[in-house]
Amino acid sequence: MREITYAEAVREGLSQRMREDSDVFVLGEDIGVYGGAFGVTRGMIEEFGPERIRNTPISEAAITGAAVGAALTGMKPVLELQFSDFITIAMDQLVNQAAKVRYMYGGKGHVPMVVRTPSGSGTGAAAQHSQSLEAWVAHIPGLKVVQPSTAYDAKGLLKAAMEDPNPVIFYEHKVLYKSKSDVPEEEYTIPLGKADVKKEGTDVTIIATAIMVHKALEAAEELEKRGISVEVVDPRTLVPLDEETIIASVSKTGRVIIVHEAVKRGGFGGEIAGVIAESEAFDYLDAPIRRLGALPIPVPYNPVLEKAMIPQVEDIIKAVEETMRGA
């Protein structure tokens, strides 16, 4: 199969849907000739024109709200929020409007929109351009939340997100944009709410999201050499969360480590830990549930500190080994 990058997979998925469905359009800052801050929409304005690839002013609240209003009246907007940190400015429109209108209106109206937004650290962009804030939106009933970790998943999940009649927040990890995987040219859907066991194993489960999936797989490879068989589960979507796959894996291995890039305190790892701790998997646990996440600090600029802030392969290996010792 053909290898393409994560950014290309997103672009291809978007373009294919846009060719099929004239209600789908993209709006966002600098997504036109500039191609978006990360080049994801590069070339699209040339194919689809400025009506459907809409360059917006820098006004995250209005463009998010306009997407909500457009979705509510029959369009299927895909909004690019240039950095996921800027969701701070769009929270009212996402949380108080997009997420709630259907319920508030007693089931009338729906909001088929996708918010694509790059998140994560690793590019030296410092505290205001490197956050992982997915836990916020995952807390809000009415929103769905997706975090693809590979180019393949990105394309299939994006199709599902664009076809979903609800508002979906679609987190793209900046550092993954250039990562490649085998991606079919034709369209395919990966349903929201279906975790992927990225690697099977028997001794310990690592539940990892976004870029941490790759770090977990690297750790697993090293641990395999040390005789520890690791299962790596990628939830892929936080909402809906595939609790079944998670619980089944943990019940099988009896040990679990949850890893995300977001700050550990208050991160979605707590939710996953909570789900496991109150499930039947609890009885199978041979060691405490471990969570790895970022340190409780804003993302530092210096590259050494920036890296040290978030879990690395060695941290995962260490955590697994400690867990295997039952500590």
Partner: protein
């Protein structure tokens, strides 16, 4: 100004009177029920502001759209909602517009183009812009009318939305109902210019000041604005000067304004009285007809109350429904 409103048929102008009565009776009833503790939550009454709601919706077609505010009962009725289902909603009943899940601040009727009231000040403004974008992209010829208060014009969402609507020449009419106060903040303390309509100039949007208590003037200015928006020339900002007779919401001691000021608006600028007088003067209606219209509106509201009271509470089984489509 055109004389569009004056040229409408007797049937139409009488219906405007009926709508204003409906709105007033509706909100007076709600006021009473809140005072008696018969309704839960809070509410924001638009008694005194009937003309801006009815006048703004007068030139709209059925499939034109509106977004409304926390003070939205008037907009709702003016856009054709049924008072019985509205009242049922306030009673939290399953027959209400939102099946009892939304309440006063969230009444919507998406199919009729009422995209909803909004509890967030300024929260509905970008939605209207998005609705207008749909109309433009799908070439539907629909206009979106976006209501908000004077206080809302200090929110960032107002600014961002007007800018966006202007550069994209979207068919949206922004209607600021300047009732002189936010919850308590007097517009003269919160805005350092005389007319909010002048804020349109920041976006190249024409701004018009209207006597919001004069239905005819309101309707005329709206008609022009709706035409401009529909024709593709872009948005208009209208400022309707008006006044809310009641407190902001329940339990408001109204310390921020004087009783004299209130009295002046009530006695000298009552939008219903003014319109009724015009109808009589112009011979468009007789005293008896006027009384019949008033009475039938009152009856309709009383029936709405009965409907609401006799409606069922939502069943507990429905609590988890309607979150996702």
């Amino acid at each position: 100004m055109t004389d569009w409103a004056g040229r409408q048929s007797d049937e139409v102008v009488k219906d405007w009177l009926r709508q204003m009565h409906l709105i007033r009776f509706f909100d007076e009833k709600v006021d009473e029920f809140f005072a008696k503790g018969m309704i839960h939550g809070t509410t924001h009454l638009c008694v005194g502001q009937e003309a801006s709601a009815v006048g703004a919706c007068a030139p709209l077609k059925d499939d034109d759209m509106i977004t409304s505010t926390h003070r939205g009962h008037g907009h709702c009725i003016a856009k054709g909602a049924e008072p019985d289902r509205m009242m049922a909603e306030l009673f939290g009943r399953v027959t209400g517009y939102c099946k009892g899940k939304g309440g006063s601040m969230h009444i919507a009727d998406v199919d009729k183009g009422n995209l909803g009231a909004n509890g967030i000040v300024g929260g509905g403004i970008p939605l209207a812009v998005g609705a207008a974008l749909t109309s433009q992209m799908k070439k539907q010829g629909k206009v979106a009318v976006c209501f908000f208060g004077d206080g809302a014009t200090n929110e960032g969402s107002f600014h961002e939305s007007l800018n966006l609507a202007s550069i994209w020449k979207l068919p949206v009419v922004f209607v600021c109902e300047n009732n002189q106060y936010g919850m308590s903040g007097p517009v003269k303390d919160m805005v350092n210019i005389e007319d909010i309509a002048d804020r349109g100039a920041s976006y190249g949007i024409p701004g018009r000041v209207v006597d919001g208590n004069n239905l005819l003037e309101m309707a005329d200015v709206m008609e022009e604005a709706v035409m401009q928006a529909r024709s593709g020339s872009g948005p208009v900002l209208i400022e309707a000067k008006t006044y809310r007779w009641k407190g902001h919401s329940k339990s408001d001691a109204k310390k921020y304004r004087t009783r004299e000021e209130e009295k002046d608006w009530r006695t000298n600028k009552d939008p219903i009285k003014r319109f009724e007088e015009w109808l009589l003067e112009e011979g468009r209606i007789t005293k008896e007809e006027a009384e019949t219209i008033r009475q039938s509106a009152l009856d309709e509201i009383n029936r709405a109350v009965e409907f609401a009271e006799n409606s069922e509470e939502p069943s507990m089984d429905t609590i988890l429904e309607d979150v996702y489509a």
